[in-house]
Symmetry: C2
Subunit: 506 residues, 2 copies
């Protein structure tokens, strides 16, 4: 028996967020839970990130109820969530009491492991959430957003890890959302943290698969002593998702390292999601291969499609290449923020503006805020000329303090506003839902009694347990898994042409 | 500058053989050749394997002419082929003079690196071809087919490598056609060969990507000293194909190892094939993810679909699982052959017979021949009971000598038969084409003057430089890239049901 490598599966959260636009309905996850819970995972990521937003915006599903259901369905395995620090699951900074209340309610409803990150890696944006998790007695995981820039040396990341340790985190996550972490830096980073922060520092590596190299990075990180790694069962893996859990298990054979995962359980879950996945074809990411251009542009795939649609909206779809080249310059001017929600959108939009209107002729409000410190501090100095423009544009001063320190107590007013909404249930959870999504929550509360919607097509039938590969073969029959939405054809029938719309699977 | 890792790209041969059923037309490869030739590869695999068969059977293209074209288009980079030892590119053993003539003609027409393998790893089936390559002054690469069984220890493979070295090969290929080679065995095997056969022994690793772990295996093999690795440019990679060249380049950063590949050239080739690939959608392999079940069954994907169609032909499609469990037993009974053409088909068919008719109640002629030594020797002893049945069935004795030693000189009769065919051009090349494909060659010679066919749909237009992802978006329109062959629907039109066949791209 060698050293055990622990595994977190992200199939219930980040996998479908990355591959199926976060649209998976709870009822499609329920049947997999028993096997997942008994497979031997360190934790199961199942909440947070974009799932909260998606639940109330698209699925008419109460995310707090989803959490309580997971707690019942997964009694043996710690539940894990992704929390955007002082932003919670929303898109602005919240006052500390709101952050504390959120963590308290999440813990009370069943959350066990809180992975807390900040888009700028500003530790001050993590401290309230981390302290709240500690207070709740749950597992506080402090997160380093991995990125590449002249300032982001191994030493800088190791220092950040020490900063997180000093806050009292239970573990440290290296979060590689854009699949930029190559094998050697993965090795060096884990080694560096273990050396500086102590060999008993629990390190958890989260990597996407987009560039095709990160399974190798997991291997090298494990060789350097990484304790826990994220993966996703193969039928919801790869592309802009994650490395397949089964490949992770197999690659360790003979190394003296092993997981404690039950392959038979995992095979059952794999086959289950093989059948579920095609039902969400209209939400499927088209990207299924690898993209190593990200290393050059450092622009994650999701960000490129955002920029493309912004450009097309301005009739400038042909200028994408210029924008891709502008992004790294805007990023340098703004002090090399990691590119992750919301910094990726802020930098990307400004790059579009620079190309269309001239360099910093027009600033977005968010970009000015980023320059002036209203999202937190960045690792590098900002370009002073651009900073001056931001001050002139926003008519606000530069701040160097913690952004949330500017906020006034807001819980009571949020409660009052929530209580005025039709169908609110009077709970703190509803106040938090409203706080994070003030536009969407009122509509959601109103329609909540109708119950959750399943946006998957062709609900799976009783006999659907057979692997999907049996569905359509190379004998020329249809491949339902590979079609997307209704298709329009002109067909000829009895010598006459007809326009016909055919729904796949019909 | 660290140690250089050399790379062979298989995009012109095994990539489209694995992913597009070997259907790519020469004219669709021509535009990529200049960039490929200048990218800095150790070699470009572009001929042999199933391409010869596919050329004459499906593409009405003279494979010898393809080879001459490649030689002109790729003047700077060695051309590489896959040769099935004494089977050449056909499916039976050929007499030595035919093997020698084939190698001579291939060398003369432009081939530089001959990767020679035998499905049973029987060195006697390689020796004539290897000697002929040496005689032609070209690069002779001896191949170990990697497989997993109780008999296939690292030591056994290392001994085989030494056997190849003793034959005078210029390099040794580890051929992992089913993606079974895990990282630690990859490391141990390369290390073992370097230790036993000398540190200057050139080792070349060929791995498919099917199980998802082999990019890690390439990394570990490289760490152990592997000199050359096979990869395929990303737009024709992964699934049952190969690891992406771009990911290989990137994963080495910071390790002190590097390739000498030109990323800009490779990006151009990637973009080119991104546009070409969808045109071959009807031949595309459906499998794009990873399959780690192969580790358990050791049955490559292509073999499973063969067995499935055999079973369905017998109305026994539901018995696939039994057959999958029978295959390892048949393999053990027959002395643990690697499962690769033709042994995979022979073992698979016998497993189907065993399930349908009772254990060894009926033997296929090929299985009896395999048992009796007519394909060569296997690493382990065969099951004596099954061997007795094979003798009784085939009414032939066991042989222990080299199968080709039983063959009489056949060149002159092959020449005479070829010269009797309409439109033969009188060349040795035509005799060899007829020798390998006696059924197909006569039809091919007849239709050869019509020139090559391109089976790709929607020939690429001038403006096709835009990435293919623009073709079908998540707006609900069809994704042409994902459909395969005609589709049968029942549609309702003016209140009446009709059965309609719709061809994709219509």
């Amino acid at each position: 028996m060698g050293r055990i490598v622990e595994v977190t599966d992200v199939i219930l959260r980040d996998a479908h967020q990355s591959l199926l636009a976060t649209r998976m309905a709870m009822e499609d996850m329920v049947p997999a839970c028993e096997d997942l819970d008994n497979a031997g995972y360190w934790s199961l990521e199942c909440w947070g990130g974009a799932t909260f937003d998606s639940c109330i915006r698209f699925l008419n599903e109460d995310p707090w109820e989803r959490l309580r259901q997971f707690k019942k369905l997964l009694p043996k395995t710690p539940l894990q969530m992704l929390l955007r620090g002082q932003n919670l699951l929303g898109y602005r900074h919240y006052e500390d009491a709101v952050v504390e209340r959120f963590v308290d309610r999440a813990a009370e409803n069943g959350m066990d492991v809180f992975r807390v990150f900040d888009a700028l890696n500003d530790l001050r944006n993590l401290k309230t959430a981390i302290a709240a998790v500690k207070k709740s007695g749950k597992h506080a995981q402090g997160t380093i957003c991995y990125t590449v820039s002249p300032a982001h040396t191994i030493e800088a990341f190791v220092d950040m890890a020490q900063g997180l340790k000093d806050m009292g985190v239970d573990s440290i996550c290296i979060k590689d959302m854009a699949a930029l972490l190559k094998p050697q830096p993965a090795y060096d980073l884990v080694k560096g943290i273990k050396e500086k922060c102590g060999a008993d520092t629990l390190i958890h590596l989260h990597a996407h698969a987009t560039t095709g190299v990160t399974l190798v990075s997991l291997m090298k990180a494990i060789e350097a002593g990484c304790d826990v790694v994220d993966a996703s069962i193969s039928s919801l893996s790869l592309g802009s998702g994650h490395n397949p859990t089964e490949a992770l298990i197999e690659m360790l054979e003979g190394t003296g390292l092993e997981t404690r995962l039950d392959k038979d359980r995992i095979l059952k879950v794999k086959e289950y999601f093989t059948n579920i996945r095609p039902r969400y074809r209209e939400f499927m990411s088209e990207f299924t291969g690898v993209d190593t251009e990200i290393f050059k542009s450092q622009i994650p795939g999701g960000m490129i499609s955002n920029m493309e649609s912004q450009l097309k909206g301005q009739g400038a779809g042909h200028r994408l290449q210029e924008v891709l080249e502008e992004v790294p310059r805007v990023r340098a001017d703004s002090g090399y923020p990691p590119l992750v929600t919301p910094s990726s959108q802020i930098v990307g939009s400004q790059a579009v503006f620079n190309v269309l209107m001239g360099k910093y002729k027009t600033l977005t409000g968010e970009f000015a805020d980023l320059m002036l410190g209203y999202y937190g501090s960045t690792i590098s100095e900002k370009n002073p000329e651009v900073l001056a423009k931001a001050e002139a544009h926003a008519k606000k001063p530069v701040i160097t303090g913690r952004p949330a320190d500017l906020l006034k107590p807001e819980w009571e007013s949020l409660r009052k506003d929530t209580e005025a909404l039709e169908n609110n249930n009077g709970s703190d959870e509803d106040v938090l839902t409203f706080a994070m999504f003030p536009q969407v929550a009122p509509k959601f509360f109103k329609s909540r009694p109708d119950g959750p919607k399943n946006l998957g097509k062709d609900p799976v039938k009783k006999d659907a347990a057979a692997p999907a590969k049996a569905e359509g073969k190379s004998d020329g029959t249809a491949k339902p898994a590979a079609m997307s939405g209704p298709v329009n054809y002109v067909i000829t029938l009895h010598g006459k042409e007809h326009k016909v719309t055919v729904a796949p699977g019909a």
